[in-house]
C-alpha cells in the first residue's frame, strides 16, 4: 500500500520567511538560515482544585504563550534581511514572519509575529561566521 505523501516524513522543504511590514505584506525567504527552533506555543497551567476534587488535583489550560524562537544563520556582510532584524532588536519592534512548509503539497503556512529581543554575532576562527536572532512569539500562530 502506498502511503500518501502527507502521511510520511520528509526532509527539508521548510523555509523561514521575513515580512517587510507592507500592506499587503510581502515575505522573503531568509536563505542563510541553518537553524530555527522554538516555533510553537504552550498553555499555562491553572490549578482548579476544589474541596470537591476528591483528594486529587485538577487543572485546566490557561492562556497560550508563544515560545521564544531562535534563528541561526550564516553571517553575510551587508545582507538587508540581517540588517533589518538587527534594527528590529535595537528599535524594540515586532516583525511578522512565515514558516513556509512546501516539502509536500499542499503548501502549509505558520504565520507569526515576534517581539524581537536579541541579536548576537558569533565570530568563528576556523569556520563560517554565524549570527543568531531571538524573538518571543506575540499573539496567536495562524496556521493555514
Amino acid at each position: 500500500m502506498i502511503e500518501s505523501p502527507l502521511e510520511t516524513p520528509f526532509v527539508g522543504g521548510i523555509f523561514w520567511a521575513v515580512g517587510n511590514g507592507g500592506s499587503p505584506e510581502a515575505y522573503t525567504r531568509y536563505c542563510a538560515v541553518d537553524a530555527m527552533s522554538g516555533i510553537g506555543s504552550a498553555n499555562s497551567l491553572i490549578d482548579v482544585t476544589t474541596f470537591c476534587s476528591m483528594g486529587v488535583k485538577e487543572y485546566i489550560a490557561g492562556l497560550a504563550d508563544g515560545k521564544q524562537v531562535t534563528i541561526g544563520a550564516n553571517y553575510l556582510m551587508g545582507d538587508a534581511i540581517q540588517e533589518g532584524l538587527i534594527s528590529d532588536v535595537e528599535n524594540k519592534v515586532k516583525r511578522n514572519f512565515e514558516v513556509q512548509v512546501d516539502g509536500v503539497s499542499p503548501f502549509r503556512l505558520f504565520k507569526l509575529t515576534l517581539a524581537m529581543l536579541d541579536w548576537e554575532l558569533d565570530p568563528q576562527v576556523a569556520k563560517q561566521n554565524v549570527i543568531k536572532f531571538i524573538g518571543k512569539i506575540s499573539g496567536k500562530i495562524m496556521r493555514s
Binding site: 536563505c31 538560515v33 541553518d34 550564516n74 576556523a126 563560517q128
Partner: protein
C-alpha cells in the same frame, strides 16, 4: 574547476615550490618512477553546509599534501615551503575563490617505497563553489 586542480596549478606557478620540485606535483597518485622531491595532492574530506534553502556555496575541503624526498630533511624542506606559501592564504587560485586555508595536521612517515620519506600535511580549504 576543482579546488585540488586549481591548487596544483597554483603551486606549479609558485617559484619557491617549483624551485624545489620542478613540475613534479601530482594529483591523487604519484608517478612511481618520478624523481624526488615531489608532491602529491589528494582531497580526503569535503563538507557542505545544508541550509533551509539549499546548499551553501562556501565549502570546506581537506586536502592531503604529501612531500616526498629521499631523506627527512628534503621532505621537511618541501613541506615547510608549502606551509609558508599557504600561511594566511586568502584569494583566488585560478578559477577558485579561496576564503581561507588552515594547516590542520602535519607528520612524517616512512613511505612504503624503500628509502623514501614522506611528510604528510592536511590543509583545510574554505572555498566558494558554483
Amino acid at each position: 574547476m576543482r579546488v585540488e586542480t586549481d591548487f596544483r596549478s597554483w603551486l606549479l606557478a609558485e617559484p619557491t615550490i617549483s624551485a624545489i620540485v620542478g613540475g613534479r606535483i601530482f594529483g591523487l597518485v604519484r608517478e612511481p618512477q618520478a624523481a624526488l622531491p615531489a608532491i602529491n595532492i589528494q582531497r580526503i574530506v569535503t563538507r557542505r553546509q545544508e541550509l533551509f534553502c539549499g546548499v551553501d556555496p562556501l565549502v570546506s575541503a581537506d586536502l592531503q599534501v604529501d612531500s616526498y624526498a629521499i631523506d627527512g630533511d628534503g621532505a621537511w624542506t618541501c613541506a615547510e615551503a608549502l606551509r609558508t606559501v599557504l600561511k594566511n592564504f586568502s584569494g583566488p587560485m585560478g578559477t577558485t575563490q579561496v576564503d581561507k586555508v588552515f594547516l590542520i595536521n602535519e607528520f612524517p612517515l616512512v613511505d612504503p617505497d624503500p628509502g623514501i620519506i614522506r611528510v604528510v600535511q592536511t590543509y583545510n580549504f574554505w572555498y566558494v563553489e558554483d
